[in-house]
């Protein structure tokens, strides 16, 4: 390699050449194949579940009116999804879920920020938050009903208790695992205390916070369903309430139809979180090599 006479220009060109060589083009596939790649395994899985379900029905462990098969449930589901009343029930449940989750995010953020930042609070509440996370949310309902009566507040209260600790813990974990090298870099750049927290530590904890949000949602959704089964409010139909009455009326097909709706909503929201997580990973360069 003869670089005896390295003028600034040849330098720039050599660097540009190396840069171009290093940047092998990693292109993402088109949208349609990507979606298809995600969809067909799901379709396959659903198909298998339906087949097993049908097989169990045919096996005749239970009479038809106790355990309905797909052939009965699908028409019922269709009927319900075309009735405005049912959509109102879904609307009520979703409103509760969204408000409950939103308040949980707020509470979790404030709690996580304080506990991760202030040492005394960490010592006092750190393990308590983790403890709360493991507490089954249904165990809160007797107290919630005593405090708030059979009202929506009782449900929201338990939803928040279910979701906020996970969200707070996600943030705390992210703050704890901020890579030390980034802290050092931030320090060298002149960031101190609150500024370091805002510009380095908080952004660095985003992936963990997102994981906390996802888990928080799962807890919120579960708590909400438990709450709607336990706290029946008159003249306010909700998914949990429908489930309750379907069982009372021994309407097996209707019960399974509502369960399917609950499952689909849960999966749908989870997909939203996954999409957010994937896009974050792609932007940060954290994605796994897939083969």
């Amino acid at each position: 390699m003869a670089v005896d006479q390295a003028t600034p220009d040849t330098h720039a060109r050599q660097l540009a050449g190396l840069d171009a060589l290093e940047l092998g083009g990693g292109t993402r596939g088109g949208l349609a194949p990507r979606i298809w790649g995600r969809v067909w395994p799901m379709v396959l899985a659903v198909g298998m579940v339906v087949a097993i379900w049908q097989a169990v029905v045919w096996a005749g462990f239970w009479p038809d009116y106790v355990f309905a098969g797909p052939a009965e449930v699908v028409p019922v589901l269709g009927d319900r999804l075309t009735s405005g009343e049912y959509w109102e029930a879904i609307g009520v449940t979703m409103r509760r879920a969204v408000t409950g989750f939103a308040v949980s995010v707020l509470v979790g953020l404030v709690l996580g920020a304080l506990v991760s930042r202030i040492r005394v609070l960490r010592a006092a509440f750190g393990s308590l938050i983790t403890g709360l996370q493991t507490m089954p949310s249904i165990a809160w309902f007797p107290l919630a009903i005593l405090l708030f009566g059979l009202t929506e507040s009782a449900i929201t209260f338990v939803v928040i208790l279910g979701a906020a600790p996970s969200i707070a813990n996600g943030l705390i974990g992210g703050v704890d695992y901020t890579p030390p090298i980034l802290l050092r870099a931030g320090h060298v750049l002149g960031f101190r205390r609150l500024q370091l927290y805002r510009h380095v530590i908080l952004p660095a904890s985003l992936p963990s916070f997102l994981a906390g949000l996802k888990q928080g949602w799962a807890f919120a959704w579960r708590s909400l369903m438990a709450g709607e089964l336990v706290v029946i409010i008159a003249h306010q139909s909700s998914l949990g309430e429908r489930l309750y009455y379907d069982r009372e009326l021994a309407d097996s097909a209707g019960l399974l139809a509502t369960m399917i709706v609950i499952l689909i909503i849960g999966i749908g929201v989870d997909l939203l979180f996954e999409t957010a997580d994937n896009s974050l990973r792609r932007r940060w360069g954290l994605q796994q090599v897939r083969n």
């Binding site: 840069d19 090298i181 500024q195 954290l286």
Partner: protein, 263 residues
Amino acid sequence: MTAPLRERTDSRIQGGEPAVRLDGVSKIYGQGKNGLLALDNVSLSVGQGEFVCMLGASGCGKSTLLSLVAGLDSPTAGRIGTEGRRIAMMFQEPALFPWLTVSANVEMAMRVQGVAKRERQTRAAEFLEIVHLGGFGDKRPHELSGGMRQRVSLARALAQDADVLLMDEPFGALDAMTRDLLHDELERIWRERGLSVLFVTHNVREAVRLGDRVVLLSSRPGRVVEDFPVTLDRPRHTDSAEVAKIAGAITGRLREEVMRHGS
């Protein structure tokens, strides 16, 4: 706020004072009998506009010393004087923020100084131009190669408008060809900007290639063993015979130091 920072820099610096001065600096990690003496009575100075390379085997406290100068840690004994100079530091890893674009990473250096957003962006583009990464401002760090990232890191350090640049084995993880090119780049930037550089490495030839002086540290504890002036004309080549000759002499001295620990 919009005054060119270079001018401010010049008014900060008084006369022929060294840019960095360490007087009898010691650093002990831990306490009592279990304490580990990392640095023992190190005295060293980096003159204004001087390029000093610090060399030593593992465990000589090179990185500790840089951390102390950068203010990331404080010495157990002794004094470190930087006379209000602004200090930038580069690490072996690029240490870029993955949630920011390349340009925003460089801008971070100007945030603390309260430079307005628009000006930050313009200047970041200029600094990226200096390290030949003009067109890469909108990329994310992970989309660049290791050498490119390290250049972004250099641009970010330059954007701090520092007078003193501390470098902790910044090219250690790069391939030889990229490293050679970056040596030339660093030398050019150092000269153009009148920086004072304290450069830590374990690569003897790299030290001789770059340094006005090569300071050899002993290991456990770190002490200054010898201070080699390098008076070869610049630009130098890592593969040249003159560099090899001086590097040979320093390596011999380094070997003696290492062997002391074997017996």
